[in-house]
Protein backbone atom coordinates (compact mmCIF):
# COMPACT_ATOMS: atom_id res chain seq x y z
CA UNK A 1 0.00 0.00 0.00
CA UNK A 2 1.85 2.98 -1.26
CA UNK A 3 0.51 6.44 -0.55
CA UNK A 4 2.58 9.42 -1.66
CA UNK A 5 3.48 11.95 1.00
CA UNK A 6 2.46 14.82 -1.29
CA UNK A 7 -0.97 13.21 -1.75
CA UNK A 8 -1.44 13.08 2.02
CA UNK A 9 -0.35 16.68 2.55
CA UNK A 10 -2.62 17.87 -0.24
CA UNK A 11 -5.67 15.93 0.89
CA UNK A 12 -5.59 16.30 4.67
CA UNK A 13 -7.87 19.31 5.13
CA UNK A 14 -8.47 21.62 8.02
CA UNK A 15 -12.04 22.60 8.74
CA UNK A 16 -12.94 25.01 7.15
CA UNK A 17 -9.83 26.32 5.41
CA UNK A 18 -10.54 25.81 1.76
CA UNK A 19 -13.38 25.96 -0.57
CA UNK A 20 -14.13 22.32 -1.10
CA UNK A 21 -16.78 20.33 -2.93
CA UNK A 22 -20.36 21.00 -1.89
CA UNK A 23 -21.16 17.44 -0.94
CA UNK A 24 -18.92 14.76 0.54
CA UNK A 25 -18.34 12.44 3.48
CA UNK A 26 -15.05 12.61 5.42
CA UNK A 27 -13.23 10.98 8.32
CA UNK A 28 -12.50 13.75 10.80
CA UNK A 29 -10.77 14.24 14.15
CA UNK A 30 -10.21 17.13 16.49
CA UNK A 31 -6.57 18.07 16.95
CA UNK A 32 -5.42 20.01 20.03
CA UNK A 33 -2.73 22.70 20.50
CA UNK A 34 -0.13 19.97 20.98
CA UNK A 35 -1.15 18.52 17.63
CA UNK A 36 -2.57 15.44 19.28
CA UNK A 37 -5.51 13.78 17.57
CA UNK A 38 -8.50 13.63 19.89
CA UNK A 39 -12.19 13.22 19.28
CA UNK A 40 -13.13 11.32 16.09
CA UNK A 41 -16.18 11.92 13.92
CA UNK A 42 -17.63 11.69 10.44
CA UNK A 43 -17.99 15.05 8.73
CA UNK A 44 -20.76 15.19 6.15
CA UNK A 45 -21.20 18.15 3.86
CA UNK A 46 -24.43 18.21 1.89
CA UNK A 47 -25.08 21.03 -0.56
CA UNK A 48 -22.68 23.24 1.38
CA UNK A 49 -24.18 22.50 4.82
CA UNK A 50 -21.97 20.76 7.37
CA UNK A 51 -23.10 17.95 9.64
CA UNK A 52 -21.03 16.21 12.29
CA UNK A 53 -21.93 12.61 13.04
CA UNK A 54 -20.23 11.38 16.19
CA UNK A 55 -20.39 9.67 19.54
CA UNK A 56 -19.62 12.35 22.15
CA UNK A 57 -18.90 9.51 24.61
CA UNK A 58 -20.73 10.96 27.62
CA UNK A 59 -23.99 11.10 25.65
CA UNK A 60 -25.43 8.95 22.87
CA UNK A 61 -24.43 9.42 19.21
CA UNK A 62 -25.79 12.47 17.39
CA UNK A 63 -25.82 14.29 14.10
CA UNK A 64 -25.02 17.96 14.73
CA UNK A 65 -26.74 20.03 12.07
CA UNK A 66 -24.95 23.11 10.70
CA UNK A 67 -21.76 22.07 12.40
CA UNK A 68 -19.24 24.87 12.70
CA UNK A 69 -15.99 25.39 14.59
CA UNK A 70 -12.70 27.16 14.18
CA UNK A 71 -9.94 25.11 12.69
CA UNK A 72 -9.56 22.27 15.17
CA UNK A 73 -10.94 19.51 13.01
CA UNK A 74 -8.83 17.84 10.33
CA UNK A 75 -10.32 15.48 7.84
CA UNK A 76 -9.81 13.39 4.74
CA UNK A 77 -12.64 12.76 2.29
CA UNK A 78 -13.91 9.16 2.31
CA UNK A 79 -13.17 7.70 -1.12
CA UNK A 80 -16.11 5.30 -1.18
CA UNK A 81 -18.85 7.94 -1.28
CA UNK A 82 -18.91 9.86 -4.54
CA UNK A 83 -18.01 13.51 -4.07
CA UNK A 84 -20.78 15.92 -5.08
CA UNK A 85 -23.28 13.11 -5.55
CA UNK A 86 -26.11 14.74 -3.61
CA UNK A 87 -28.24 11.59 -3.57
CA UNK A 88 -25.47 9.42 -2.21
CA UNK A 89 -24.33 11.88 0.46
CA UNK A 90 -27.93 12.54 1.47
CA UNK A 91 -28.57 8.79 1.70
CA UNK A 92 -25.47 8.44 3.88
CA UNK A 93 -26.58 11.25 6.20
CA UNK A 94 -30.06 9.78 6.46
CA UNK A 95 -28.68 6.39 7.54
CA UNK A 96 -26.42 8.11 10.10
CA UNK A 97 -29.45 9.80 11.63
CA UNK A 98 -31.21 6.47 11.74
CA UNK A 99 -28.25 4.78 13.48
CA UNK A 100 -28.23 7.58 16.09
CA UNK A 101 -31.82 6.77 16.92
CA UNK A 102 -30.98 3.08 17.35
CA UNK A 103 -27.66 3.02 19.15
CA UNK A 104 -27.34 2.46 22.89
CA UNK A 105 -23.59 2.48 22.95
CA UNK A 106 -21.57 2.79 26.14
CA UNK A 107 -17.99 4.00 26.33
CA UNK A 108 -15.38 1.28 26.42
CA UNK A 109 -12.27 0.17 24.53
CA UNK A 110 -13.92 -2.75 22.92
CA UNK A 111 -14.58 -4.23 19.50
CA UNK A 112 -15.56 -7.87 19.01
CA UNK A 113 -17.01 -7.46 15.49
CA UNK A 114 -20.54 -7.43 16.83
CA UNK A 115 -22.78 -5.56 14.47
CA UNK A 116 -26.30 -4.42 13.76
CA UNK A 117 -29.01 -6.44 12.03
CA UNK A 118 -31.24 -5.19 9.22
CA UNK A 119 -33.54 -3.48 11.73
CA UNK A 120 -30.62 -1.56 13.15
CA UNK A 121 -30.58 -3.61 16.35
CA UNK A 122 -27.24 -4.36 17.96
CA UNK A 123 -26.53 -8.07 17.82
CA UNK A 124 -23.82 -8.95 20.29
CA UNK A 125 -21.43 -11.75 19.39
CA UNK A 126 -20.35 -12.40 22.95
CA UNK A 127 -23.27 -11.33 25.07
CA UNK A 128 -21.96 -7.90 26.06
CA UNK A 129 -23.95 -4.69 25.55
CA UNK A 130 -23.05 -2.26 22.78
CA UNK A 131 -19.64 -0.88 23.72
CA UNK A 132 -17.20 1.35 21.95
CA UNK A 133 -15.28 4.61 21.62
CA UNK A 134 -15.86 7.60 19.38
CA UNK A 135 -13.52 5.93 16.89
CA UNK A 136 -14.98 2.45 17.01
CA UNK A 137 -18.47 3.88 16.62
CA UNK A 138 -17.46 5.65 13.39
CA UNK A 139 -15.56 2.58 12.20
CA UNK A 140 -18.62 0.43 12.79
CA UNK A 141 -20.74 2.87 10.80
CA UNK A 142 -18.25 2.88 7.92
CA UNK A 143 -18.27 -0.93 7.95
CA UNK A 144 -22.00 -0.78 7.29
CA UNK A 145 -21.27 1.24 4.16
CA UNK A 146 -18.77 -1.27 2.79
CA UNK A 147 -21.09 -3.56 0.79
CA UNK A 148 -18.55 -6.21 -0.09
CA UNK A 149 -16.42 -6.62 3.02
CA UNK A 150 -17.49 -7.35 6.59
CA UNK A 151 -15.42 -4.66 8.19
CA UNK A 152 -13.80 -1.35 7.30
CA UNK A 153 -10.76 -2.12 9.46
CA UNK A 154 -9.07 -5.45 10.08
CA UNK A 155 -9.91 -5.23 13.79
CA UNK A 156 -7.94 -8.37 14.65
CA UNK A 157 -4.79 -6.30 14.08
CA UNK A 158 -5.57 -4.08 17.08
CA UNK A 159 -5.21 -4.76 20.77
CA UNK A 160 -5.13 -2.78 23.98
CA UNK A 161 -1.52 -1.69 23.45
CA UNK A 162 -2.37 1.89 22.55
CA UNK A 163 -4.63 2.51 25.53
CA UNK A 164 -1.90 4.45 27.30
CA UNK A 165 -3.22 6.97 29.78
CA UNK A 166 -6.73 6.31 28.48
CA UNK A 167 -6.83 3.18 30.61
CA UNK A 168 -8.45 5.10 33.45
CA UNK A 169 -11.62 5.42 31.37
CA UNK A 170 -11.81 1.70 31.69
CA UNK A 171 -12.52 2.03 35.37
CA UNK A 172 -15.86 3.63 34.54
CA UNK A 173 -16.88 0.47 32.81
CA UNK A 174 -15.58 -1.69 35.63
CA UNK A 175 -17.65 0.36 38.01
CA UNK A 176 -20.68 -0.03 35.79
CA UNK A 177 -20.05 -3.73 35.21
CA UNK A 178 -20.27 -4.47 38.91
CA UNK A 179 -23.97 -3.69 38.95
CA UNK A 180 -24.74 -5.25 35.57
CA UNK A 181 -24.21 -8.50 33.89
CA UNK A 182 -20.97 -7.67 32.11
CA UNK A 183 -18.38 -10.38 31.97
CA UNK A 184 -15.05 -8.59 32.36
CA UNK A 185 -13.17 -11.65 31.10
CA UNK A 186 -14.88 -11.36 27.73
CA UNK A 187 -14.39 -7.64 27.80
CA UNK A 188 -10.68 -7.98 28.42
CA UNK A 189 -10.37 -10.53 25.62
CA UNK A 190 -11.62 -8.04 23.03
CA UNK A 191 -10.23 -4.93 24.64
CA UNK A 192 -8.68 -2.71 21.99
CA UNK A 193 -8.24 0.85 20.93
CA UNK A 194 -7.99 2.32 17.47
CA UNK A 195 -6.54 5.81 17.91
CA UNK A 196 -8.09 8.89 16.27
CA UNK A 197 -4.84 9.36 14.29
CA UNK A 198 -5.11 5.81 12.99
CA UNK A 199 -8.73 6.47 12.14
CA UNK A 200 -8.09 9.60 10.05
CA UNK A 201 -5.05 7.95 8.45
CA UNK A 202 -7.17 5.01 7.32
CA UNK A 203 -9.04 7.32 4.95
CA UNK A 204 -5.93 7.52 2.77
CA UNK A 205 -6.10 3.79 2.10
CA UNK A 206 -8.48 2.15 -0.32
CA UNK A 207 -8.09 -1.58 0.09
CA UNK A 208 -10.44 -3.19 2.59
CA UNK A 209 -10.42 -4.33 5.30
CA UNK A 210 -7.60 -1.94 6.12
CA UNK A 211 -4.67 -3.52 7.96
CA UNK A 212 -3.03 -1.81 10.88
CA UNK A 213 0.47 -2.05 9.39
CA UNK A 214 -0.65 -0.09 6.32
CA UNK A 215 -1.90 2.66 8.62
CA UNK A 216 1.27 2.61 10.75
CA UNK A 217 3.38 3.16 7.63
CA UNK A 218 1.77 6.48 6.78
CA UNK A 219 0.42 7.73 10.13
CA UNK A 220 3.61 9.74 10.85
CA UNK A 221 3.06 11.66 7.60
CA UNK A 222 -0.51 12.46 8.61
CA UNK A 223 0.70 13.51 12.07
CA UNK A 224 3.33 15.71 10.45
CA UNK A 225 0.80 17.32 8.16
CA UNK A 226 -1.29 18.95 10.91
Amino acid sequence: MKVEESYIIKNLKRFNDESLPNSFVALAAKVNELKQFGHAAILIRLKGRNFLYHYPSFTLPVVEDDFDEHGWYFYKIFSQIRVDDVNEVEGFLDLCRWICGKSNIMYAFFADKSNYNSKGEYISKNGLPELGTCVSFCVNTLSGFMPEVDSYLELDDWNSSSLGNMASYDLLLQEYARGKDIDMNIYNAFKKRVTPLEYVTSAFLEEYPIKREWISEIAPIVQGAV
Partner: protein, 313 residues
Protein backbone atom coordinates in the same frame (compact mmCIF):
# COMPACT_ATOMS: atom_id res chain seq x y z
CA UNK B 1 9.06 31.92 -34.35
CA UNK B 2 5.42 31.98 -33.35
CA UNK B 3 3.10 29.14 -34.24
CA UNK B 4 0.84 29.82 -37.16
CA UNK B 5 -1.99 28.39 -39.14
CA UNK B 6 -1.89 28.96 -42.87
CA UNK B 7 -4.47 28.21 -45.53
CA UNK B 8 -3.26 28.43 -49.10
CA UNK B 9 -5.33 28.22 -52.24
CA UNK B 10 -3.25 25.99 -54.50
CA UNK B 11 -5.50 25.56 -57.54
CA UNK B 12 -8.57 27.11 -59.03
CA UNK B 13 -11.57 25.00 -59.98
CA UNK B 14 -10.37 24.75 -63.56
CA UNK B 15 -6.95 23.56 -62.43
CA UNK B 16 -5.14 26.79 -63.12
CA UNK B 17 -2.81 28.33 -60.58
CA UNK B 18 -4.56 31.00 -58.59
CA UNK B 19 -3.37 34.52 -59.10
CA UNK B 20 -4.07 37.71 -57.23
CA UNK B 21 -4.75 39.61 -60.40
CA UNK B 22 -7.11 37.04 -61.82
CA UNK B 23 -8.97 35.52 -58.89
CA UNK B 24 -12.22 33.61 -59.45
CA UNK B 25 -15.31 34.60 -57.53
CA UNK B 26 -15.12 31.29 -55.64
CA UNK B 27 -11.54 31.91 -54.54
CA UNK B 28 -12.38 35.44 -53.43
CA UNK B 29 -15.35 34.07 -51.48
CA UNK B 30 -13.06 31.53 -49.78
CA UNK B 31 -10.60 34.23 -48.77
CA UNK B 32 -13.50 36.13 -47.26
CA UNK B 33 -14.60 33.09 -45.23
CA UNK B 34 -11.07 32.47 -43.98
CA UNK B 35 -10.48 36.07 -42.93
CA UNK B 36 -13.85 36.24 -41.21
CA UNK B 37 -13.27 32.97 -39.38
CA UNK B 38 -9.79 34.02 -38.31
CA UNK B 39 -11.24 37.26 -37.02
CA UNK B 40 -13.88 35.33 -35.12
CA UNK B 41 -11.18 33.07 -33.70
CA UNK B 42 -9.06 36.01 -32.57
CA UNK B 43 -12.11 37.69 -31.06
CA UNK B 44 -12.79 34.59 -28.93
CA UNK B 45 -9.45 35.22 -27.21
CA UNK B 46 -8.49 38.13 -25.04
CA UNK B 47 -7.18 41.37 -26.57
CA UNK B 48 -3.64 40.78 -25.42
CA UNK B 49 -3.45 37.20 -26.68
CA UNK B 50 -1.22 38.33 -29.59
CA UNK B 51 -3.21 36.46 -32.17
CA UNK B 52 -2.71 38.18 -35.52
CA UNK B 53 -4.03 37.74 -38.96
CA UNK B 54 -0.98 38.13 -41.10
CA UNK B 55 -1.22 40.17 -44.22
CA UNK B 56 1.25 38.50 -46.56
CA UNK B 57 0.27 40.85 -49.34
CA UNK B 58 -0.95 37.74 -51.01
CA UNK B 59 -4.65 37.00 -50.51
CA UNK B 60 -4.34 33.38 -51.67
CA UNK B 61 -2.17 32.69 -48.63
CA UNK B 62 -4.06 33.35 -45.40
CA UNK B 63 -2.05 33.14 -42.24
CA UNK B 64 -3.21 33.23 -38.65
CA UNK B 65 -0.30 33.99 -36.34
CA UNK B 66 -0.64 32.46 -32.89
CA UNK B 67 0.85 33.80 -29.66
CA UNK B 68 4.52 33.06 -29.17
CA UNK B 69 4.42 32.68 -25.41
CA UNK B 70 3.16 29.12 -25.36
CA UNK B 71 1.71 26.46 -27.61
CA UNK B 72 -1.73 26.54 -26.10
CA UNK B 73 -3.33 28.16 -29.15
CA UNK B 74 -1.97 25.62 -31.60
CA UNK B 75 -2.84 22.81 -29.18
CA UNK B 76 -6.31 24.26 -29.13
CA UNK B 77 -6.53 24.08 -32.94
CA UNK B 78 -5.22 20.51 -32.97
CA UNK B 79 -7.91 19.62 -30.43
CA UNK B 80 -10.56 21.06 -32.74
CA UNK B 81 -9.43 19.11 -35.81
CA UNK B 82 -9.18 15.93 -33.72
CA UNK B 83 -12.69 16.44 -32.30
CA UNK B 84 -11.28 16.76 -28.80
CA UNK B 85 -12.14 20.39 -28.18
CA UNK B 86 -14.69 21.25 -25.53
CA UNK B 87 -15.48 24.64 -27.04
CA UNK B 88 -18.65 24.84 -29.11
CA UNK B 89 -17.55 28.21 -30.44
CA UNK B 90 -14.13 27.15 -31.70
CA UNK B 91 -15.55 24.06 -33.33
CA UNK B 92 -18.14 26.24 -35.05
CA UNK B 93 -15.53 28.69 -36.36
CA UNK B 94 -13.29 25.97 -37.79
CA UNK B 95 -16.24 24.17 -39.30
CA UNK B 96 -16.94 27.27 -41.42
CA UNK B 97 -13.42 26.99 -42.83
CA UNK B 98 -13.67 23.21 -43.20
CA UNK B 99 -16.99 23.49 -45.02
CA UNK B 100 -15.54 25.90 -47.53
CA UNK B 101 -12.45 23.74 -48.10
CA UNK B 102 -14.30 20.47 -48.42
CA UNK B 103 -17.10 21.69 -50.63
CA UNK B 104 -16.21 24.30 -53.23
CA UNK B 105 -13.95 22.42 -55.68
CA UNK B 106 -10.82 24.54 -55.36
CA UNK B 107 -7.63 23.01 -53.99
CA UNK B 108 -6.21 24.13 -50.69
CA UNK B 109 -3.35 23.40 -48.42
CA UNK B 110 -3.72 23.82 -44.66
CA UNK B 111 -0.63 23.80 -42.46
CA UNK B 112 -0.17 24.33 -38.77
CA UNK B 113 3.25 25.34 -37.60
CA UNK B 114 3.44 23.80 -34.16
CA UNK B 115 6.63 24.12 -32.10
CA UNK B 116 8.60 24.77 -35.31
CA UNK B 117 7.22 21.68 -36.96
CA UNK B 118 4.80 21.84 -39.85
CA UNK B 119 1.71 19.67 -39.47
CA UNK B 120 -0.24 19.26 -42.68
CA UNK B 121 -3.93 19.44 -41.80
CA UNK B 122 -5.30 19.52 -45.36
CA UNK B 123 -6.92 16.08 -45.17
CA UNK B 124 -8.49 16.92 -41.80
CA UNK B 125 -10.10 20.00 -43.33
CA UNK B 126 -11.35 18.01 -46.29
CA UNK B 127 -13.00 15.25 -44.27
CA UNK B 128 -15.79 14.93 -41.71
CA UNK B 129 -17.31 17.81 -39.79
CA UNK B 130 -15.42 18.65 -36.57
CA UNK B 131 -17.37 17.89 -33.44
CA UNK B 132 -16.81 18.76 -29.82
CA UNK B 133 -15.46 16.23 -27.36
CA UNK B 134 -18.91 16.06 -25.80
CA UNK B 135 -20.45 15.22 -29.17
CA UNK B 136 -17.70 12.69 -29.95
CA UNK B 137 -18.14 10.93 -26.64
CA UNK B 138 -21.35 12.12 -25.04
CA UNK B 139 -22.16 11.04 -21.49
CA UNK B 140 -24.39 8.04 -20.94
CA UNK B 141 -28.03 8.83 -20.33
CA UNK B 142 -30.72 6.62 -18.89
CA UNK B 143 -34.38 6.39 -18.19
CA UNK B 144 -36.42 3.68 -16.48
CA UNK B 145 -39.58 2.85 -18.39
CA UNK B 146 -42.60 0.76 -17.60
CA UNK B 147 -43.98 -1.00 -20.65
CA UNK B 148 -47.24 -2.82 -21.16
CA UNK B 149 -47.95 -4.39 -24.53
CA UNK B 150 -48.22 -7.48 -26.64
CA UNK B 151 -45.12 -9.64 -26.82
CA UNK B 152 -44.67 -10.92 -30.37
CA UNK B 153 -41.12 -12.25 -30.40
CA UNK B 154 -38.67 -13.72 -27.93
CA UNK B 155 -35.21 -15.13 -28.45
CA UNK B 156 -32.17 -14.54 -30.62
CA UNK B 157 -28.95 -16.33 -31.35
CA UNK B 158 -26.26 -13.95 -30.10
CA UNK B 159 -28.30 -11.28 -28.39
CA UNK B 160 -31.43 -12.32 -26.56
CA UNK B 161 -34.31 -9.93 -27.00
CA UNK B 162 -38.01 -9.71 -26.48
CA UNK B 163 -40.14 -7.58 -28.75
CA UNK B 164 -43.17 -5.83 -27.39
CA UNK B 165 -45.77 -3.77 -29.22
CA UNK B 166 -47.14 -1.25 -26.75
CA UNK B 167 -50.69 -0.03 -27.20
CA UNK B 168 -49.35 3.28 -28.41
CA UNK B 169 -46.04 3.85 -30.13
CA UNK B 170 -43.47 1.80 -31.94
CA UNK B 171 -42.51 -1.81 -31.16
CA UNK B 172 -39.68 -2.09 -28.61
CA UNK B 173 -36.77 -4.51 -28.52
CA UNK B 174 -35.61 -5.22 -24.98
CA UNK B 175 -32.56 -7.33 -24.20
CA UNK B 176 -32.85 -9.97 -21.50
CA UNK B 177 -31.28 -13.23 -20.34
CA UNK B 178 -31.91 -16.53 -22.10
CA UNK B 179 -33.77 -17.84 -19.07
CA UNK B 180 -36.10 -14.86 -19.20
CA UNK B 181 -36.57 -15.23 -22.96
CA UNK B 182 -37.55 -18.86 -22.47
CA UNK B 183 -40.23 -17.84 -20.00
CA UNK B 184 -41.46 -15.10 -22.34
CA UNK B 185 -41.75 -17.47 -25.28
CA UNK B 186 -44.62 -19.19 -23.48
CA UNK B 187 -46.40 -15.84 -23.32
CA UNK B 188 -46.18 -14.94 -27.02
CA UNK B 189 -49.08 -12.82 -28.31
CA UNK B 190 -50.36 -12.03 -24.82
CA UNK B 191 -50.08 -8.78 -22.90
CA UNK B 192 -47.01 -8.51 -20.68
CA UNK B 193 -46.02 -5.95 -18.05
CA UNK B 194 -42.32 -5.13 -17.69
CA UNK B 195 -39.89 -2.49 -16.51
CA UNK B 196 -36.74 -1.75 -18.49
CA UNK B 197 -33.90 0.73 -18.62
CA UNK B 198 -33.37 2.78 -21.78
CA UNK B 199 -29.75 3.80 -22.24
CA UNK B 200 -28.12 5.98 -24.86
CA UNK B 201 -25.16 8.18 -25.56
CA UNK B 202 -26.49 9.48 -28.86
CA UNK B 203 -30.23 9.59 -29.47
CA UNK B 204 -29.95 7.12 -32.31
CA UNK B 205 -28.13 4.50 -30.22
CA UNK B 206 -30.84 3.67 -27.72
CA UNK B 207 -30.72 0.24 -26.14
CA UNK B 208 -33.20 -1.25 -23.71
CA UNK B 209 -32.52 -3.85 -21.03
CA UNK B 210 -35.13 -5.72 -19.06
CA UNK B 211 -35.25 -4.93 -15.34
CA UNK B 212 -38.32 -6.82 -14.09
CA UNK B 213 -41.47 -8.64 -15.17
CA UNK B 214 -44.78 -8.19 -13.38
CA UNK B 215 -47.47 -10.79 -13.13
CA UNK B 216 -50.42 -8.49 -13.76
CA UNK B 217 -51.49 -4.92 -14.25
CA UNK B 218 -52.08 -4.28 -10.57
CA UNK B 219 -48.53 -5.30 -9.61
CA UNK B 220 -47.13 -3.37 -12.58
CA UNK B 221 -48.85 -0.17 -11.49
CA UNK B 222 -47.90 -0.65 -7.86
CA UNK B 223 -44.18 -0.87 -8.62
CA UNK B 224 -44.37 1.92 -11.16
CA UNK B 225 -45.89 4.18 -8.52
CA UNK B 226 -43.34 3.06 -5.93
CA UNK B 227 -40.44 3.71 -8.30
CA UNK B 228 -41.63 7.22 -9.04
CA UNK B 229 -42.32 7.93 -5.39
CA UNK B 230 -38.75 7.00 -4.44
CA UNK B 231 -36.99 8.38 -7.48
CA UNK B 232 -38.73 11.59 -8.44
CA UNK B 233 -38.81 13.05 -4.96
CA UNK B 234 -35.84 15.17 -3.98
CA UNK B 235 -36.57 15.04 -0.31
CA UNK B 236 -34.60 12.80 1.99
CA UNK B 237 -37.94 11.52 3.23
CA UNK B 238 -37.77 9.00 0.38
CA UNK B 239 -34.87 7.21 2.10
CA UNK B 240 -36.90 6.99 5.26
CA UNK B 241 -39.88 5.52 3.40
CA UNK B 242 -37.73 3.06 1.51
CA UNK B 243 -35.95 1.98 4.70
CA UNK B 244 -39.21 1.42 6.55
CA UNK B 245 -40.57 -0.44 3.52
CA UNK B 246 -37.56 -2.77 3.43
CA UNK B 247 -37.52 -3.34 7.19
CA UNK B 248 -41.25 -4.11 7.46
CA UNK B 249 -41.06 -6.46 4.45
CA UNK B 250 -38.02 -8.22 5.94
CA UNK B 251 -39.73 -8.52 9.31
CA UNK B 252 -42.84 -10.09 7.82
CA UNK B 253 -41.46 -12.19 5.00
CA UNK B 254 -37.64 -12.25 5.20
CA UNK B 255 -35.11 -11.63 2.46
CA UNK B 256 -36.84 -14.16 0.18
CA UNK B 257 -39.80 -11.82 -0.18
CA UNK B 258 -40.24 -11.03 -3.90
CA UNK B 259 -40.88 -7.39 -2.97
CA UNK B 260 -37.27 -6.99 -1.83
CA UNK B 261 -35.93 -8.34 -5.13
CA UNK B 262 -38.36 -6.26 -7.17
CA UNK B 263 -37.21 -3.06 -5.48
CA UNK B 264 -33.57 -4.04 -6.02
CA UNK B 265 -34.12 -4.78 -9.73
CA UNK B 266 -35.55 -1.30 -10.35
CA UNK B 267 -32.26 0.25 -9.25
CA UNK B 268 -29.93 -2.19 -10.99
CA UNK B 269 -28.60 0.15 -13.69
CA UNK B 270 -25.60 2.41 -14.16
CA UNK B 271 -27.02 5.85 -13.33
CA UNK B 272 -29.47 4.82 -10.69
CA UNK B 273 -29.91 6.93 -7.51
CA UNK B 274 -26.85 6.08 -5.40
CA UNK B 275 -28.55 7.21 -2.19
CA UNK B 276 -31.26 4.62 -2.74
CA UNK B 277 -28.71 1.92 -3.56
CA UNK B 278 -26.77 2.86 -0.39
CA UNK B 279 -29.95 2.50 1.66
CA UNK B 280 -30.82 -0.87 0.13
CA UNK B 281 -27.30 -2.27 0.59
CA UNK B 282 -26.94 -0.90 4.13
CA UNK B 283 -30.18 -2.50 5.26
CA UNK B 284 -29.55 -5.78 3.44
CA UNK B 285 -25.86 -6.17 4.27
CA UNK B 286 -26.46 -8.49 7.25
CA UNK B 287 -28.51 -10.74 4.91
CA UNK B 288 -26.34 -10.44 1.84
CA UNK B 289 -25.43 -14.12 1.66
CA UNK B 290 -29.06 -15.24 1.51
CA UNK B 291 -29.68 -16.98 -1.79
CA UNK B 292 -32.77 -14.96 -2.72
CA UNK B 293 -30.87 -11.66 -2.82
CA UNK B 294 -27.16 -12.53 -3.02
CA UNK B 295 -26.74 -11.99 -6.74
CA UNK B 296 -28.83 -8.81 -6.92
CA UNK B 297 -26.95 -7.49 -3.90
CA UNK B 298 -23.66 -8.02 -5.75
CA UNK B 299 -25.09 -6.36 -8.87
CA UNK B 300 -26.03 -3.24 -6.92
CA UNK B 301 -22.63 -3.17 -5.20
CA UNK B 302 -21.07 -3.30 -8.67
CA UNK B 303 -23.20 -0.38 -9.87
CA UNK B 304 -21.82 1.66 -6.94
CA UNK B 305 -18.26 0.59 -7.59
CA UNK B 306 -18.37 1.28 -11.33
CA UNK B 307 -19.82 4.72 -10.76
CA UNK B 308 -17.13 5.75 -8.31
CA UNK B 309 -14.17 6.88 -10.36
CA UNK B 310 -12.96 9.73 -8.17
CA UNK B 311 -9.31 9.83 -7.25
CA UNK B 312 -8.55 13.48 -6.88
CA UNK B 313 -9.80 13.83 -3.31
Amino acid sequence: MPDELSIKITREKDGSAPSLTNMSLDAAQSVKVFIESFTEYARAHSEDSHIKILDTGNAIDNILTLPEADNSASDEILDVVNSESESDNLVKVFNLIRKRISENGLSYEVNLKHQDEIVNLTEKFKSKRFITKQQADPPLQEEVVFVRGMIYESGGMNVTNIHIKPKKGKPLGISCSQAEARKFSKLLYSTVFVSAVRQWKKPKDVTMRLLDVYKDEEQFERFQALYHEYTDSESSERFNKLREDLISTLTKFGAASPRISRIMRLYNHALSDRGIIRTILFILKPLRHEKAIASLYDDLATVLKNGNTQHSY
